[in-house]
Symmetry: C2
Subunit: 204 residues, 2 copies
DNA sequence: GAAAAAAATCGACGCGGTGTAGAGTTCTCG
DNA sequence: CGAGAACTCTACACCGCGTCGATTTTTTTC
C-alpha cells in the first residue's frame, strides 16, 4: 500500500508566499550591502526577488516595513543566541565570553545591525526593536559589574549607569570597526574588554 | 552656484546673497529640529527663507549640500571653541573641564551634531567632517590619558586605542542623552567622566 | 475532481519631491 | 546710464513611492 496517509502529519502548510517573503528579505539584505538603504529602491528589491513592485506590496506595506522585518528577523536570531549563553560566576570569564560572543554577532550580522542603528531614529518600529536589544545588553553588563563588586544603582559611579555607557561604547566601537575589517573588530573588542575590566575594578 | 570663495574675500560690503545663504542655513536648522531630515523638503527650506525652490538652487546644488554647509558651519564653531580651551596639567582637572565643555557643546548644537552623525554614512562629505572632528577629540583624550600615566601606543591597553573607545562612548552617550533633556545629558556626562577617570588610573 | 475561496501577481495610475532650463528682474560698478 | 553680474521666478522632466482593480494561480472544500 502506498503511504498516502502520511499526509496526516502536521504539515505547516508552507505557502508559496512564505518562500517569496524570505526571498524578499534576503534580496533586501544583499542590496543593503551593495547599495545602502537610500540608493536601494523598492523596484530593485522586487526585481531581485523575481516579482514586480506591485506584487511586493502584497507582502509589505512599504520599503520601511521590508527593512523592519529584516531587522526583526536578525534581532530575533540575536536574542536566541544570547539566551543560549552559559552564565559564569567568574566576572573575568563572563566578560571575555560576552565580548567573544559579541564579536561573532557583529561578524555575522554587522550590516543589518548597522542599518538598524542608522534607522532607529527615523523608523520608530526599528528604534523600539533596537532599544529593547540594547536594554538586554545593558542589563547583562550591569549584572557582571555588580558581581564584580560595583554597587548597584543609577548614580554615575554605580552599575546601571556605567553599564549603559559601556554598552554605547561597545556599540559604537563595533559599528565603526565592523565597517573596516574583522581584524579591526577584534582589536576594538580587546580595547572594550580592557575598559570594561577596569571599570569593574578588575585591574589585574 | 556662485563662486563662494574667491569673489567674496575681497568684498567688504555684504551681498544680498550672503544674507539669504545664512537665512537658508538658519531655516534648515530650525526645520531639522521640528521635522527631521527626511520630512524636511527643499520647498520647506526655501519657503522658510523667503524664496522659491528655484532660487535656493542658485545657492546650493542639493538638499544634502545645504545640510553639509550647516554641519560645516557648526563644526567650525566647535573647533574654535575647542582651540580656546586652556590646557591644564592636572589630568583630573583636564578631564572635568573637557566634559564640561562637551556638555555645553551638545546643549548648544546637539541637534546638528546628531544630524551629522546620522548622515555620516550616506553623505561622504559630512562623514569626513565628523570623522575629522572625532580625531581631534580622540587626540585630546589620548593626551590626557598619557599625562595620567597610561602608556602611549595603539595596543588595546594603551592610550590611543582606549581614547578611541572612550570617544565613541561619549559620543553615543551624549547622542542619546541630548535627545532627552539637559538633566540626562548632565548625568551621562558624570558617568562618562567617571569611566574616563578610572580608565586613566585615577580611581580616587 | 470540480467549484469556491483565498493567495498571489501584474500593469497602470496619481502624487509628491528632486533637480534643471531659460527667461526675467535687480543690483553694482565703471 | 548701461553692461554685466547677481539674483529670482515659473515651468518642466524625471523618478520613486504607494494604490487600485483586474487577472491568474494556488489551496481548500465538498
Amino acid at each position: 500500500m502506498p503511504d498516502h496517509r502520511a499526509a496526516r502529519s502536521r504539515r505547516v502548510t508552507e505557502r508559496k508566499g512564505d518562500l517569496r517573503e524570505r526571498a524578499i528579505l534576503d534580496t533586501c539584505e544583499a542590496l543593503l550591502a551593495q547599495k545602502g538603504y537610500d540608493a536601494m529602491t523598492v523596484g530593485d528589491i522586487a526585481q531581485g526577488a523575481g516579482i514586480t513592485r506591485g506584487a511586493l506590496y502584497f507582502y509589505f506595506g512599504s520599503k520601511q516595513e521590508v527593512v523592519t522585518a529584516l531587522v526583526a528577523r536578525t534581532v530575533e536570531h540575536l536574542w536566541e543566541r544570547s539566551r543560549a549563553t552559559a552564565e559564569t560566576d567568574d566576572p573575568r570569564r563572563a566578560i571575555a565570553a560576552a565580548m567573544q560572543r559579541t564579536v561573532e554577532l557583529w561578524n555575522e550580522h554587522g550590516l543589518v545591525m548597522r542599518t538598524a542603528i542608522d534607522l532607529s531614529l527615523t523608523v520608530p518600529e526599528i528604534g523600539a526593536l533596537w532599544s529593547h536589544t540594547a536594554d538586554l545588553f545593558i542589563g547583562a553588563i550591569a549584572a557582571v559589574l555588580e558581581r564584580a563588586g560595583v554597587p548597584p544603582g543609577t548614580e554615575p559611579d554605580q552599575a546601571s549607569a556605567m553599564a549603559r555607557a559601556l554598552c554605547w561604547m561597545i556599540e559604537r566601537s563595533f559599528y565603526h570597526a565592523s565597517q573596516e575589517s574583522r581584524e579591526a573588530l577584534q582589536r576594538a573588542s580587546s580595547t572594550c574588554e580592557h575598559i570594561w575590566l577596569i571599570s569593574a575594578g578588575l585591574t589585574a
